[in-house]
């Protein structure tokens, strides 16, 4: 007898070997044979294991190296810091692991292997459930992991029927049984239970496929858009261009996004004394669907961990920061107000940014490019000035301040080079087209005046929030798949598939006892890897006992070898 887990394993190996085709051209035959061989290889457990390992190895660079999809800043920094291998790694897809061809190759192979593995097994399990166990027993029951023998009086066929009847009544679903009468009068009852384990295993693997499918659909048809909105203003997601940053799946086009409008009325944050945030909340007004363009708004408090869900999209509060505001009084007397979100660079909201004035009033067209203005520098909600460097000492606005450089000249907006909204184009400065005119550290209300009389006043700061819209049409399916997956997993790990056999052998009857006496051998085998049979076996033995006629159990050794 092989150990039971070898049986379990053998059951998992694809074993069906079809007889080779006799007719047909030789080449064709060998080609199909090779293909079949390849298929058998691919769907074997060994291959599955190797592919599982390849998958973990392929995923590792995704965890260890910065990825374009999660952090563009870190990725470009990494490439710049590693001029030798950086570009190569980039070309080979190491910064885009999860959309690289080699990663796709591994998981596609794994899933083909999975399908090839699951299909024949499903058929096999269905067949087993329909038919029940075969009505045969191992020749020597005493060599099974669980074994017991007892004697009884009565008729073998009756005893068999009785055991069968009792088996059927135990447990949920009970046992599937089969019975056989052998020529020498011996009756065999075979029973099996725990088919749900294999059903669970199938459900698990099929749900895994469904999960993969759902994630693929989600990444093809879903999108994410983010936008920064200063309190007191709003935003309408009429199309992807309305967002500061839009990341579409490859099947998304401009018309497939959901339109909605949102106004941010206020933002509140609270902090501990040490400056750690304890709560964030944005008061927003919101409209979508039929309400668009009307005066109907839904008011809501938007918080982290609690997105607004509407027509399939979700709207999240992702972060916040400060938008310093400035007033510029031009030499010709014109007064304009400007505001621009600054990018927080630390947890106390020392923030960096640039206000760019592309069309200062009062200059003739041809002079415009010489007189564009930029206010570039640092904002701090609680200003601390040390050695001429401004930083923040607390995240909320106790004593706001800015340290700014004022530039005048050509901002380079028409060069075609993309510009960050948080910084000026330094090549313009290097080329002498954009010139620093002043440096100033300002508290609210304070101003600095350029030589031509332009006065720049720091008027304070508002809060901004960064919002994100997400859309994933298949995430509900992913959830359903994963729930089935877990249910299947639990069933396949926790249910024990086990068999029990009863061999009822009539002994030569002593003449005084016309009913005849019986030897009943019971053997049990758990077809489950190491999960064991538990405490169930004794009760299965008890099933064979007939309260009215049992004359006693015999130690297994006593019947051995008979």
């Amino acid at each position: 007898m092989p150990p039971p887990d070898t049986i379990a394993a053998r059951r998992n190996e694809p074993t069906q070997k079809r007889p080779p085709t006799r007719r047909g051209r030789k080449a064709f035959t060998s080609a199909t044979a090779a293909l079949r061989n390849l298929w058998r290889r691919l769907t074997s457990m060994h291959t599955a294991l190797v592919l599982l390992f390849l998958l973990t190895i392929a995923a590792l660079p995704g965890a260890l190296l910065p990825q374009w999809s999660t952090s563009r800043v870190n990725t470009s920094k990494y490439i710049a810091d590693h001029p030798e291998i950086g570009p190569w790694l980039n070309r080979l897809g190491f910064f885009n692991v999860f959309s690289s061809p080699w990663f796709a190759a591994v998981y596609l192979l794994l899933f083909i292997s999975l399908i090839g593995c699951v299909t024949p097994r499903s058929r096999e399990i269905l067949r087993q459930i329909r038919r029940g166990p075969p009505a045969t027993a191992p020749r020597n029951l005493s060599r099974l992991p669980h074994h017991e023998a007892l004697t009884a009086v009565g008729d073998a066929a009756h005893a068999g029927e009785r055991i069968r009847g009792r088996l059927r009544r135990t447990g949920i679903g009970g046992w599937r049984t089969a019975m056989r009468h052998e020529p020498d009068g011996t009756v065999i009852v075979a029973a099996e239970k725990g088919y749900l384990r294999d059903v669970g295993n199938l459900v698990f693997h099929i749900s895994l496929l469904a999960l993969l499918l759902s994630t693929s659909v989600g990444s093809l048809f879903g999108y994410e858009g983010s936008v920064i909105i200063t309190a007191g203003s709003g935003f309408c997601a009429s199309s992807p261009i309305a967002y500061d940053d839009f990341r579409p799946g490859s099947m998304v086009n401009a018309t497939t996004t959901t339109p909605f409008c949102v106004d941010v009325d206020a933002f509140h944050a609270t902090y501990t004394e040490g400056g750690q945030a304890t709560s964030f909340q944005a008061d927003i007004r919101f409209q979508d669907g039929a309400a668009l363009g009307t005066d109907t708004w839904q008011r809501r408090a938007l918080e982290v961990n609690d997105p607004i869900r509407f027509s399939g999209d979700r709207l999240y509060l992702m972060g916040h920061g400060y938008t310093p505001t400035f007033r510029i009084t031009y030499p010709n007397g014109a007064v304009r107000n400007y505001q621009q979100p600054f990018l927080p660079s630390d947890s106390l909201f020392t923030s960096e940014g640039a206000v760019k004035v592309t069309d200062p009033p009062g200059y003739p067209r041809d002079q415009l490019l010489k007189n564009q203005l930029a206010i570039v520098g640092v904002f701090a909600p609680t200003a601390l000035l040390a050695g001429g460097v401004l930083s923040s000492g607390y995240p909320s606005q106790l004593s706001p301040g800015v340290a700014v450089d004022i530039y005048r000249g050509d901002l380079g907006m028409s060069t075609g080079r993309p510009q960050s909204v948080f910084a000026i184009d330094n090549t313009q400065v290097a080329r002498g087209l954009l010139v620093k005119k002043a440096h100033a550290v300002l508290a609210p209300g304070q101003s600095t005046t350029l030589t031509d009389g332009t006065r720049i006043t720091f008027t304070g700061a508002k809060e901004f929030v960064s919002l994100q819209t997400s859309y994933d049409p298949a995430q509900g399916w992913a959830l359903v798949s994963v729930l089935f997956m877990i249910a299947g997993l639990m069933a396949s790990l926790l249910i024990k598939r086990r068999r029990v056999w009863y061999r009822i052998r009539p002994e030569p009857a002593p003449p005084a006892d016309p009913a005849g006496s019986l030897v009943i051998e019971v053997g049990g085998l758990a077809r489950t890897d190491q999960a064991g049979y538990g405490r169930e076996f004794p009760s299965l033995v008890a099933l064979a006992e007939d309260p009215s006629s049992v004359s006693g159990r015999r130690p297994a050794a006593a019947v051995k070898g008979q």
Binding site: A9, M45, T70, E303, A531
Partner: protein, 344 residues
């Protein structure tokens, strides 16, 4: 109205008690480790009974792999007393071993007290930063170990199980230590309670699986080398036999693996509510997937001929290594969205 001063006083008292009991737990684990080591080193150890030798021989003839012993039931070893203490050998080793279990139990109690006090002091689930998570994993591993030790008479595994617990609680109490405090808004979610608790539960249970697998490898190499285990005096002879170790590794894995699956799924649900997507290949998510696939690999390996035994055990060890890698390296070195480390 809450009296601010007395509230602060209560906070500080609770936090102090929590820190103090944590140190007690650490001391308990270290002492237990010493006792276990001394027990293994004691020459006076009881000789393995004849039954054990027979069973070992059987295991070896079958290729020193997982063979279900006499009846494969969970209480098999108890019933035929193979691992029950040998009364004749109740010498120093035996006493040290019992002391180790007792000290572990005390350490576990203090560990739990420390966690509870921190929760009471900070008015939140006490697993919001790395120190607290490490402490929770230690408590769960210690609790699971005490359960296993009580059921399966495998006390001599102690060194291998208590060692990682002691190391983790030491690192937790020193490098990772963070004073009790409030949580940033993104962590103020019931998902934190569910997700992190499940992560700690599965990590603690899988730590046992990893320890048992490591011992399995050591022991199976030894069994292949040494013929007469009963007369051998090396400490490996006093470790539980391969079949027992394999069973413990497997049973803890099939509890730990679904828990880990739940943890990852809870994490995905939280990410959906918090970061705008349920899966985004954040380094932490990626490493969790790697861990998950490794454990799936472990289960497959056990059902694949040629992979059972030591190879499967190695995979289980790799799986636990990747859990620890995810806890330490990914939190502290790689930057991602999981910035709750409380270290920066």
């Amino acid at each position: 109205m809450v009296d601010v001063d007395s509230a602060t006083a209560v906070w500080e008292l609770g936090a102090r008690i929590s820190d103090f009991t944590f140190e007690g737990a650490l001391a308990g684990y270290v002492t237990a480790l010493a006792c276990h080591a001394a027990e293994l080193a004691t020459r006076h150890a009881p000789r393995a009974s004849t039954a054990a030798a027979a069973a070992t021989t059987r295991a070896r003839t079958a290729g020193a792999v997982a063979v279900i012993t006499s009846d494969g039931g969970p209480d098999a070893t108890d019933r035929d007393g193979r691992f029950a203490p040998d009364p004749a050998g109740a010498g120093w080793g035996e006493r040290l071993g019992r002391a180790a279990i007792m000290v572990t139990a005390v350490g576990f109690g203090m560990n739990v007290a420390s966690i509870v006090m921190r929760g009471l002091a900070a008015h939140r689930a006490p697993w919001g930063n790395m120190y607290e998570i490490a402490s929770l994993i230690c408590a769960i591993a210690a609790g699971a170990w005490l359960l296993v030790a009580a059921r399966a008479h495998v006390r001599r595994m102690g060194v291998f199980v208590v060692f990682p617990i002691a190391v983790l609680s030491f690192v937790g109490g020193t490098v990772l230590y963070t004073p009790a405090g409030t949580l940033v808004p993104v962590l103020q979610s019931y998902w934190l309670v569910v997700h992190v608790l499940l992560v700690a539960l599965s990590s603690g249970v899988l730590m046992l699986s990893g320890a048992a697998s490591l011992m399995f490898i050591i022991r199976s190499r030894y069994e292949r080398r040494v013929v007469n285990v009963a007369d051998d005096r090396s400490f490996v002879a006093r470790l539980p036999e391969t079949a027992t170790l394999d069973r413990i590794a497997y049973r803890t894995a099939i509890i730990g693996f679904p828990l880990f699956t739940f943890a990852v799924v809870a994490g995905a649900l939280w990410a959906e509510a918090s970061w705008g997507r349920y899966w985004g290949w954040d380094p932490k998510e990626t490493t969790a997937l790697v861990t998950w696939v490794l454990y799936a690999g472990y289960l497959h390996a056990r059902a694949t001929s040629g992979w059972r035994g030591s190879r499967a055990a190695w995979i289980s060890i790799l799986g636990f290594a990747s859990i620890m890698f995810n806890l330490f390296f990914v939190n502290m070195v790689v930057s991602g969205l999981h910035s709750y480390a409380g270290l920066n």
